[in-house]
Every structure is written in structure tokens, then in C-alpha cells.
């Protein structure tokens, strides 16, 4: 399962992309996030309780209860700050 990190999450975790193999009880995006949180201090900071984290599964925005089953890529990032003005 490919996981991508952007912006502040990428900075904290120290990488933009990795392949992970979560256990079978990880069914949702929220459960994946909780499981990732235990991989190290950078992850713990990126996914700290209260951190504003958004997710996309296969390049579509999803909620935390969305399934990760069969997903090609799952991305985590802060609320977007594009555009301008």
C-alpha cells in the first residue's frame, strides 16, 4: 500500500512517500492514520490528536471512515492553502 505525505506532514515525517503493510485490522483511513502514528516521533507529531489532517484515496478526497481496501495510493496532508488573494 503506497502512502503519500504532503506539506507539513511530509516535513515532520521526513519523507514524501513510502510503501507500508498494515495489519489486517486496519480497515479505514482513520485506522491507518492511528497505526502510522506509532512508527516514530515524526509520525506521532504529524498525526498528533487535534492535528488537522485531510486524506485522499486514489486521488479523491475522503473522510476518515473511508475504506483503504484495494486502494492504490493513500495521501495525508494538511488543509490546502492554494490559490491566492
Amino acid at each position: 500500500m503506497k502512502v503519500l505525505y504532503f506539506a507539513g506532514l511530509r516535513t515532520r515525517i521526513g519523507r514524501g512517500e513510502e510503501d507500508v503493510d498494515p495489519p489486517a485490522e486496519v480497515h479505514t483511513v482513520g485506522e491507518l492514520m492511528q497505526w502510522l502514528r506509532d512508527r516514530g516521533p515524526g509520525y506521532a507529531a504529524a498525526f498528533a490528536p487535534g492535528a488537522l489532517v485531510r486524506a485522499a484515496v486514489d486521488q479523491d478526497y475522503v473522510g476518515m471512515d473511508h475504506s483503504v481496501s484495494g486502494a492504490h495510493e493513500i495521501a495525508f496532508f494538511p488543509p490546502v492553502t492554494g490559490g491566492n488573494g
Binding site: 506539506a7 507539513g8 478526497y61 496532508f77 494538511p78 492554494g82 488573494g85
Partner: protein
């Protein structure tokens, strides 16, 4: 037309292209977002984006706009990479038969870009680089639509 690119763009040429071949368009509204210098010394920023998802998301919102305002022509160009104060970041242009549609559709697209396009700004500040946090006000503006 949707483009996500590092390079700057020619506003006059983009506007010409938008209405080329159509004679039923009476109003053309464009928005250009610029890197604004702030009082606390930001002189440049780097825009990160999610390649692939960005194009996908912009194409989807363009289709949404075309279904809300049938017959419009539109262009969205969003830059990424390092940009300095005064540089153009984003360009949205809508041509429509009447001005009310052109204004509404371009505001819709700009509001949407601020809250849904997967871009993130890293500002260069005197004390170091810092990720910009999202503005609650932008979410409110986007929820109008």
C-alpha cells in the same frame, strides 16, 4: 483548459485563446492571484502540490462549473514551485454570454481553488520557512456555492 505548471503564463494570450472562435460571448472575467508581500517580511514562497490529483481535481471542478453555467468557456492555470513577491500564482478566466454568469462562475472557481485544490504554501520568513495554515474564512466563502 486546465494547466498546472512551474512557468509563468501570458495573460493577454490566455484571454485571447479563451474566446477564439466564439462570437456568442459578451463577458470575460479573469482573476489573477499574486504573491502578496506581508508586513512580517515574507518575500517568497514555495508551492507544493499533489501531481496527478491536482489535475484530476481541477478537471472535476471545471466540469462542475460547466454544468452549473452551460456554454461558458474557462481556463484555470495554477503554478507550483518557488515564487517571489508580486509573481502570479493562479489564473482563472471565464467567458460567458452575459457578465453575471462570468462573474459567478469565476468566483465559484476561485473560492473552490482556495479550499479544494491540493496545494500548500511554504513561506520564506526571516526566522525560517513556515507552512501557511488554512483560513477559516476561505471555507466559509466556498460553502456559499
Amino acid at each position: 483548459m486546465i494547466r498546472v505548471q512551474r512557468d509563468d503564463f501570458d495573460v493577454g494570450a490566455e484571454l485571447e485563446r479563451l474566446t477564439a472562435g466564439r462570437t456568442d460571448l459578451g463577458g470575460l472575467v479573469s482573476f489573477i492571484g499574486l504573491v502578496r508581500g506581508t508586513e512580517d517580511g515574507v518575500r517568497a514562497m514555495t508551492l507544493e502540490h499533489y501531481p496527478g490529483m491536482t489535475e484530476r481535481a481541477l478537471t472535476a471542478i471545471a466540469e462542475d462549473a460547466r454544468s452549473r453555467w452551460p456554454g461558458i468557456e474557462l481556463t484555470i492555470i495554477h503554478r507550483f514551485g518557488r515564487l517571489e513577491r508580486g509573481d502570479r500564482i493562479v489564473f482563472v478566466a471565464v467567458a460567458a454570454a452575459h457578465r453575471a454568469e462570468a462573474f459567478a462562475a469565476s468566483e465559484f472557481l476561485v473560492d473552490w481553488l482556495k479550499t479544494k485544490a491540493p496545494f500548500w504554501k511554504l513561506e520564506e520568513r526571516p526566522e525560517g520557512s513556515q507552512w501557511v495554515e488554512a483560513q477559516h474564512e476561505d471555507e466559509e466563502r466556498a460553502s456559499r456555492w
